[in-house]
């Protein structure tokens, strides 16, 4: 049985995992909304799914390999053009331990 009520602390933990800094108000509202949605979703816990294979992809696929040959790709400059903070031919980010 799935527990559909989701506590505020859990919401906070999930927000950290998702890298979303939610405001107090958003955390509060999210707890209520997610609980409501999960309550609906929990109906699938009533189904007997013993022995049913999970589907991750709907069409039959096989692995396709191509020759590993070097070929032209995007230029570094072109890729850096759209970056918020390009520096010295790289993507600059703030320090992870400021």
């Amino acid at each position: 049985m799935i527990r559909s009520m989701i506590e505020r602390e859990q919401v906070e933990h999930v927000a950290t995992l998702a890298r979303l800094k939610l405001s107090e108000e958003e955390l509060e509202r999210m707890a209520g909304e997610l609980s409501g949605i999960l309550e609906h979703v929990d109906r699938i816990s009533e189904l007997d799914l013993e022995g049913v294979e999970p589907t991750s992809h709907v069409i039959a696929m096989e692995n396709v390999l191509r020759p590993d040959e070097p070929r032209p790709s995007w230029s570094r400059d072109e890729m850096l053009e759209r970056a918020p903070d390009p520096a010295s031919g790289a993507f600059r980010v703030p320090s992870p331990q400021a």
Binding site: I6, R43, L49, V52, P54, I59, R82, A83
Partner: protein, 491 residues
């Protein structure tokens, strides 16, 4: 503005352009003018001149016209989820405001190859998450039948542009109904092809195992023309397989020899279907019989669990796909002193409420301790839904349902209740879970429950995987018999 040109179908216009009766440039300019007067907020970007519409330098010109390409000179509205080289591409999100991709999506390249021109980029729910277009970071698109109502979503701008005569055709994406539902609410044709028919390369990913590109048009033949140009295997998308033999243009005029199942879970026993929608549906089912088709009730026992499975699987995939928006390589960055804080601030300010909700839902469903209970079970429900369809298709050629339980609803009506919004997709979600094609055609008009102006109602036809051409043929025969018109409803 030349209203007569604007009313032509794609097939008619392309025919006239090919025969030299109509200048491709004149036709494009008529639409450019129409699009410039967009009062529906349907388009987020509009081509200012013809050269802008001709991406990657392959200018549509007399040459193209002479070569007789199938879509020579046809303007198309492209959902803003498709990357277009040098042209703003936002996916309806503020996190991509001002982003100009370095390349063009395969689907758009193929349309260009067939002679089409990019008239504009269509408004949409942010990252295709929504059923009303109200989750756009750039304001909602409006329904051309009643600007106080939603056009549906997520491809709401595409549907509004085509129904509102701002574009002759559009492309969109469908993950749980995002082409078919807005097509139904705006009174046009919308098709979700078999999964893998069209390349997803350059289509900003929402839920990769479900996302599929398809046409929104004013006729079934137009849908076939647009799909014909786009489908096919693409080395840049390993899940693209194309349709064997390509797409045939529909010519069918009756339904003799074909059988249609009406799944009671998505029709007679479905909750929340408006009485007007039910009437139009039943009338259309009678038309199938008049055209020689055989109709009988069938069952899809797990279809009612489609919404539950979908709202685990799609957010789970989305939470992974949207991890790339972190303020490092492109798009918005909110400055902060520390790296994690920069990620968190950028994402919380760049994403809208629904996108955050889905990322949270997906992250929760995939988190330690809940994975099997949610994601694992949802994948098994997906298997059962696909098996239900396979069983139905052993007996029937097609399955038919209403497309949307209701006609277009009022702006703001469902924004405070995420679950009510999700249930808008009740009849459209099972098909992408099974990977099968489905089309919505306008079947008539009806009043919303509680009365009011008559609004369009869509009729959905679903078929087995890769039955796309046969499905279009069936839709074509039915479209003729329905005789839907923009102003007069069915007659």
């Amino acid at each position: 503005m030349d209203q007569e040109l604007i009313e032509l179908t794609v097939a008619e216009a392309a025919g006239r352009v090919r025969s030299g009766e109509l200048s491709a440039d004149e036709y494009f300019d008529a639409y450019r003018e129409a699009a410039a007067g967009d009062s529906l907020n349907a388009l987020l970007w509009r081509a200012e001149d013809r050269s802008q519409a001709d991406l990657d330098g392959t200018r549509a010109s007399q040459e193209e016209v002479d070569s007789g390409r199938p879509l020579a000179g046809i303007p198309v509205a492209v959902k803003d989820i498709f990357c277009t080289e040098g042209i703003p591409t936002t996916a309806g999100s503020r996190i991509l405001e001002g982003y100009r991709p370095p390349y063009t999506a395969t689907a758009v390249r193929r349309l260009r190859g067939a002679g089409a021109r990019v008239l504009g980029k269509a408004n949409m729910d942010e990252f295709a998450m929504g059923s009303s277009n109200e989750n756009s970071g750039y304001g909602p698109a409006l329904n051309p039948w009643d600007s106080g109502r939603v056009p549906g979503g997520s491809s709401g701008g595409s549907a509004a542009a085509v129904a509102g005569r701002l574009a002759p055709c559009a492309i969109g994406t469908d993950t749980g109904g995002s082409i078919r539902q807005p097509a139904a609410l705006c009174g046009i044709v919308g098709m979700k092809p078999t999964y893998g028919a069209v390349s997803r390369y350059g289509m900003i990913a929402f839920a990769s195992s479900l996302d599929q590109c398809g046409p929104l048009t004013r006729s079934v033949t137009d849908a076939a023309l647009v799909l014909q140009a786009m489908e096919g295997r693409d080395p840049c998308d390993s899940t693209s397989v194309g349709i064997e033999g390509g797409i045939e243009l529909p010519g069918r005029e009756d339904l003799k020899g074909l059988s249609f199942g009406v799944p009671r879970e998505l029709a007679s026993e479905a909750e929340g279907i408006e009485s007007g929608v039910r009437d139009v549906f039943e009338r259309t089912v009678s038309l199938i019989e008049e055209l020689g088709g055989e109709v009988a009730e069938t069952e899809l026992p797990h279809a009612p669990h489609g919404i539950s499975a979908y709202y685990v699987l799609a957010p789970a995939e989305a939470s992974a796909n949207l991890a790339r928006f972190d303020g490092v390589r492109y798009g918005l960055r909110v400055e902060a002193d520390e790296l994690t804080e920069m990620y968190e601030e950028t994402r919380v300010q760049g994403f809208g409420a629904e996108v955050k909700r889905r990322i949270m839902l997906g992250t929760y469903a995939l988190s330690s301790g809940y994975y099997e209970a949610y994601y694992g079970r949802a994948q098994r429900v997906r298997t059962k839904i696909a098996e239900d369809f396979s069983k139905a298709f052993e007996r029937f050629d097609f399955v038919v349902t209403p497309t949307s339980p209701t006609v277009a609803f009022k702006l703001g009506e469902r924004t405070d209740d995420p679950l009510a919004m999700y249930l808008s997709d009740y009849c459209t979600v099972p098909m992408p879970l099974a990977g099968i094609p489905a089309i919505s055609i306008p079947a008539g008009t009806a009043q919303p429950d509680g009365g009011g102006t008559e609004l369009p109602v869509g009729f959905q036809i679903a078929g087995p995987a890769f039955s796309d051409s046969a499905m279009l043929g069936t839709a074509h025969a039915l479209e003729r018999a329905i005789g839907f018109s923009r102003n007069g409803g069915s007659g």
